[in-house]
Symmetry: D3
Subunit: 157 residues, 6 copies
């Protein structure tokens, strides 16, 4: 269907053929946020003992998930990521933990799904580690921030 690159001429979901795209350096950066209650925010964002381990575990989980993207998203290509990083910053006013994931690779297709998957799983890991304290956390703002390489050029949201 026109524009839907994963839908073939018969209206079926199939992997896009990237065999004729050129190998270029590609970059993607995604972000997302988790809104937590006061108790979780203080513990995680304000530096109590748990902080390192909650965000440390979430960072590792996000990086591993970015590498696992083609196993999770059915029509994603396996890619050789040359770098994945996951970082957290804090938004005191909104009482939110903000996660960003950056992915670099040299390959035939972009890595925005890897960056978005890294963010999502990192935030789910924060959720998991804090859910005994707060059952009303919410993940939002999961979106692409920047993308470069490939024929669609440079994108900044």
């Amino acid at each position: 269907m026109d524009g839907f690159t994963h839908i073939d001429e018969n209206g079926k979901a199939n992997m896009v053929d990237v065999g004729d795209k050129s190998e270029t350096k590609r970059y993607a950066k995604a972000t997302g946020r988790i809104r937590v209650n006061e108790e979780v925010y203080s513990a995680v964002a304000k530096g109590s003992v748990a902080k390192g381990d909650v965000l440390g575990a979430a960072r590792i989980a996000g990086i591993m998930a970015a590498k696992k993207t083609p196993e999770l998203i059915p029509l994603c290509h396996t890619l050789l990521l040359s770098k994945v990083s996951v970082e957290f910053v804090f938004d005191d006013k909104a009482r939110e933990i903000i996660c960003t994931c950056e992915v670099k690779l040299t390959g035939r297709t972009g890595a925005e799904m890897e960056a978005l998957t890294g963010v999502s799983v990192a935030l789910l890991t924060v959720y998991d580690m804090c859910k005994a304290i707060d059952k009303r956390m919410e993940i939002h703002g999961v979106r692409l921030v920047e993308k470069d390489g490939g024929k669609s050029g440079h994108f900044v949201s």
Copy 2:
């Protein structure tokens, strides 16, 4: 640390011991949304040929991801899910696709992470299949809706 069940007495991230919890029937329901542009919304929500396959692929991806949760979220226990379902409805006013994932199991710990992971990966799959058309989609509202079974009783958000 007090309340943080995944942080042990030394402040380290470790799996909670659920060996003394009783095996009970447990249920969790999570939801999330993806905001898309007009073109994507019409194609996916309004019934063009692509609809079945975009949401069909996303449903399968969400179900498989729910089963994969302990591989993604470091401190989650492996569980024997007795049912996973993923559904989509449309919010015309907000131009959003709403995903819900329900999980049932008989076991020693709850399945909210499975439901949340199912929702997240289902929405990421929608994103992947529509990203050639819309680079500004955003996933939000990922949260627990309902939970039952286990000592913390019935929770409805």
Copy 3:
């Protein structure tokens, strides 16, 4: 849809709820065959040095694949298999290697997909190891032989 247990009331593919089925001992046995050329058949079936390793690798691959079934077949439940075995016999007349896979478990749903997946991957592994010699091998006769436990009773094909 009536009879199609994986299709829900809205015609969507979803996992069957097995939460109300009882935990019983269950057994499944599947079989399949690969037809190979003279050269492969002699080497593998007739005892040359390669025999042990081709079938040994295929046996291990089949057992590991049976355990991986819920990752491969979207709507299969994760099960705790109590036994998986993979065996090979030879049909000289047909020049075929016959594989059988037996699976046992105590659980809420049957294991025929595990047995069928074990057979399929074991035979694909034989194919892989012999494909430099024979490009016309064919896998056929992959089917359920016997099944026991659960409400549908004893089945023998």
Copy 4:
């Protein structure tokens, strides 16, 4: 052993060294069939509501399995597939659903195992979704149809 590329000079199963093969565009197409009873055939092949979801789920499962091939077949190399597609056609006379899987990549070794694995898992998924109705389905005719790229040249069965 002579010809058995996966058996080393000591008769042991080991991965073939493809490091000196050149990176070329490669293509493989495999096929297979599942014989089903009248009730399954009508529902799946003749267009009832279940059709889309049975074959849609099987297509996604086949594509994901093709990407997973090196995890399933012990001596297969990890490859960067540039395209995987899975299609179904119907053979009314034989009452069979025919699956084909095409795989493309640029790499140092061929992708016939990926195509064969895609076909096998897609057919097993059809089996899974229809097994409550028909316990005597049989998968057969799983074989390579065409292969191109690499030093062994173009193969058509």
Copy 5:
């Protein structure tokens, strides 16, 4: 073969049948060590900034690997671990980092392989993060420390 529980009556490697064993609480504890050079030891064991993250990442990797054991060790059963913990202590005299992994479950077979896999992957992760500084690290002393539950009774090494 007598004593080799994974070798069947025909001398073939196959999974042991644990279907007739009773479900009991089981426990296993394994240990292992990595010998590192002065520079690595100071940085990791003596509290510089890297410490938390090297051992934090290794702890997460070990816990995730323990859950993945049946995917790695061909004849291991899938188990529902109720707890996994990974800890590190330091042996200043030997300049070694000592890792222990404890695993608990309620099930039909023991978890020593899970504990040993957790230790091995945790130590390999330490190795990975320090290998730019020390190429002569060595992992040793990987062994079972204690085991309980099941018919073989309590074992302490």
Copy 6:
């Protein structure tokens, strides 16, 4: 932190960026040993019927684990291994089974973690298959033997 390539400027564990390293042929060889009791040693090393299958299964497990390294070791890059081999020799005096794993690839980063993971999982598989006979086996001497390719040049331990 200086020297710790996996620790970024903020002291956080993140994947190294290898995007600017050149694609070269790389090679790594690792080794490790398992010390076993008399009964296990005779059975496995001295040629009884079990020998082929214990070491055959361990070889397959080691090769598959080497391919799985980026799923196990959090900060390892996905690599396209062009060859993996696992071999065993026997040290009668020490009553030890010695495993070596060699890995080759063309890529942007070395493969020592793949070789070390291959050795570790192969030895754990030997352990698993012999643990009913000997509960005091010990894995030791897991280390890098040789490494070539990349900017750090040729390393021989």
